[in-house]
């Protein structure tokens, strides 16, 4: 039986941290610790002496972890950056998913792989959720602008809702622009003419 891996996840956002930890649990019975407070990060990590550190590639605190790759004191285990490892496809997948992994030197690749696969899957999922959330927000914003523009056209031309909408659709198609763009132009122009 192999020893449990000691894994540190650096993540401030509680919901995201929970998602990552859940994903890692599915990959095996590992000892997972979340560090949310980034002050003194390198010290906290080296005190814990983990096998693996996972951190969002966009987190500025990555630079503090880099220091651990240089650890030279006798009791410290040097930490290698995962992009150093020979498994190119896995590295590429990690970069695309936006996760950086720091692995203690000497840990065998087949012990890391299931954990990293799980982490990558979770980071992908989170990325997808972020994109969807942004998409939903944008759609909602566009809806609001289109409704306002429709109101302006209705008042200006004394026409009904459906007719105003059709008029805007036609203008958009004629100009090869998106309906939301035409609506925004209308709203902006109306603001100016107020």
């Amino acid at each position: 039986m192999t020893r449990r891996l000691s894994i540190i996840v650096v993540e401030k956002d509680r919901d995201r941290a929970v998602m990552i930890v859940d994903g890692l649990r599915e990959a095996g019975d590992h000892d997972v610790l979340v560090i949310a407070d980034e002050l003194g990060l390198a010290r906290r990590i080296s005190e814990r002496n983990p096998d693996l550190v996972l951190i969002d590639a966009g987190n500025p605190s990555r630079d503090a972890i880099e220091e651990l790759t240089l650890a030279s004191a006798p009791l410290q285990r040097p930490v290698a950056m995962f992009v150093d490892e020979s498994d190119g496809a896995l590295t590429q997948a990690a970069i695309e998913a936006g996760v950086s992994a720091y692995v203690v030197a000497g840990l065998s690749a087949n012990r890391i792989k299931p954990v990293l696969d799980a982490a990558i899957a979770r980071f992908h999922l989170m990325q997808k959720m972020r994109v969807e959330l942004a998409e939903t927000r944008r759609a909602l914003e566009e809806r609001k602008v289109i409704d306002r523009a429709k109101g302006i056209v209705m008042r200006a031309k004394g026409i009904g809702e459906d007719e105003a909408y059709a008029l805007m659709r036609k203008a958009a198609m004629d100009q090869g622009r998106k309906l939301a763009e035409v609506a925004l132009a209308l709203v902006t122009a109306a603001e100016l003419l107020k």
Binding site: L39, N59, D63, A64, E66, L70, V83, D84, S100
Partner: protein, 386 residues
């Protein structure tokens, strides 16, 4: 035809040559569109360049040297030009500043400032720098070691991502820091720190950020590399003219998310050092141009290599030789000679030997090198011929 180049950078004042090259048309003149990719950290920027997400990047001068020495990651980079000299400031927490009341905070004498810091710090001194391989780290160490004092046993120089520096100071995680602008001014504005010393007072002409590319790129695509090097060189020259600094302040402020007033402090060298508004003028605080500022001297790289070798237990002479090859003064010459740059006749010099502006042999005969003294009057002779 316009070619789009993706370049990595960190949102700092000394990313100015990249930002100005794009905003003021120097890139366009060379048929380039610059897609500037803001990296969240130096390690992320290094990885972006390493995997080819960006073609070239603004980089801390020691990073390419460290990589060549096998420190940090298997990537291999080359330095095509120096983007700026100097530009960092050392500051102390407000608590530590309060214990330094006898010091004048003149920001001019590194020895005075260092002794005052050690006296006030007592047995505990932890200093935050942005990255393990940075001039911040090298210059802080050089400064403290050169004071000839017994350093506190607990002295620690640790990496703190600059955006977190004000919080780290407030929490007592660090007592002092060395950061680039606008980070130092932001720490002052937030009442977290007081500026103590510009790094230009430690070494008057220290290479700070460089233009780095993957090893071999500039020779595989010399035409494109030439266009990029020239565009950034012209942006640097533009930044060197005082009359342009107001516009530069506005352009940079928009990119960096701080006010133009804060950006202008470092561009003009008029630093606000404390929350009460006290000001100090530091000539040469941050330099983009003049005296072959952009020239990647082999001797600068050798100095960095020697310092890294000492700390990481590598052979010093060998490290200097390897390091010197990372700063590609030959590529710089190839592309900027025909463009009209006044290039020095030599590619290496004895660093720290100039106390006064000094005329030197150059391609156009008008090159005057600015003072490049170390505060302790040491000189560094890399023993590199030519």
């Amino acid at each position: 035809m316009t070619v789009t180049l993706r370049l990595g950078f960190l949102p700092l004042v000394d990313a100015a040559p990249l930002i100005v090259a794009e905003a003021m048309g120097f890139a366009e003149e060379e048929g380039l569109a610059l897609d500037l990719v803001a990296a969240p950290s130096w390690s992320a920027s290094r990885d972006l360049l390493s995997i080819g997400e960006v073609t070239a990047a603004q980089m801390l001068a020691p990073v390419p040297v460290a990589l060549a020495l096998g420190l940090g990651s298997p990537a291999r980079f080359e330095v095509l030009s120096v983007l700026n000299l100097n530009g960092n400031a050392i500051g102390v927490s407000t608590a530590l500043a309060a214990r330094m009341r006898d010091h004048d905070f003149a920001l001019s004498d590194a020895r005075d400032a260092g002794l005052a810091l050690l006296a006030a710090a007592g047995q505990r001194l932890r200093i935050g720098v942005p990255f393990a391989f940075s001039m911040h780290n090298e210059l802080v160490r050089y400064w403290l070691e050169g004071l000839g004092q017994t350093l506190p046993e607990s002295l620690e120089i640790v990496t703190v991502p600059p955006p977190l520096m004000p919080d780290a100071l407030a929490a007592g995680e660090v007592d002092a820091f060395c950061v680039g602008e606008p980070r130092g001014s932001v720490a002052v504005e937030r009442g977290a720190g007081v500026l103590l010393l510009p790094t230009s007072a430690i070494w008057a002409a220290a290479p700070e950020k460089v233009l780095a590319a993957r090893a071999g790129w500039a020779e595989q695509d010399p035409e494109l590399a030439g266009r990029l090097i020239r565009a950034l060189w012209r942006a640097g020259r533009w930044l060197g003219q005082g009359a342009n600094l107001t516009v530069a302040g506005e352009v940079l402020a928009a990119r960096l998310g701080v006010s133009a007033e804060v950006v202008e402090r470092s561009l003009t060298g008029r630093l606000v050092i404390a929350a009460d508004g006290a000001e100090r003028v530091v000539p040469g605080f941050l330099r983009f141009d003049g005296g072959a500022a952009g020239f990647p001297w082999r001797s600068q790289a050798a100095w960095i290599g020697a310092r890294l070798a000492r700390r990481h237990g590598l052979d010093a002479m060998q490290a200097q030789t390897v390091a010197a090859q990372v700063f590609r003064s030959d590529i710089y010459r190839l592309h900027l000679g025909p463009a009209g740059a006044d290039l020095p006749a030599a590619s290496a010099k004895v660093e720290g030997s100039l106390a006064e502006p000094t005329p030197v042999a150059s391609s156009r005969g008008r090159l005057i090198l600015p003072p490049d003294r170390f505060y302790d009057a040491q000189v560094f002779d890399p023993g590199l011929a030519g």
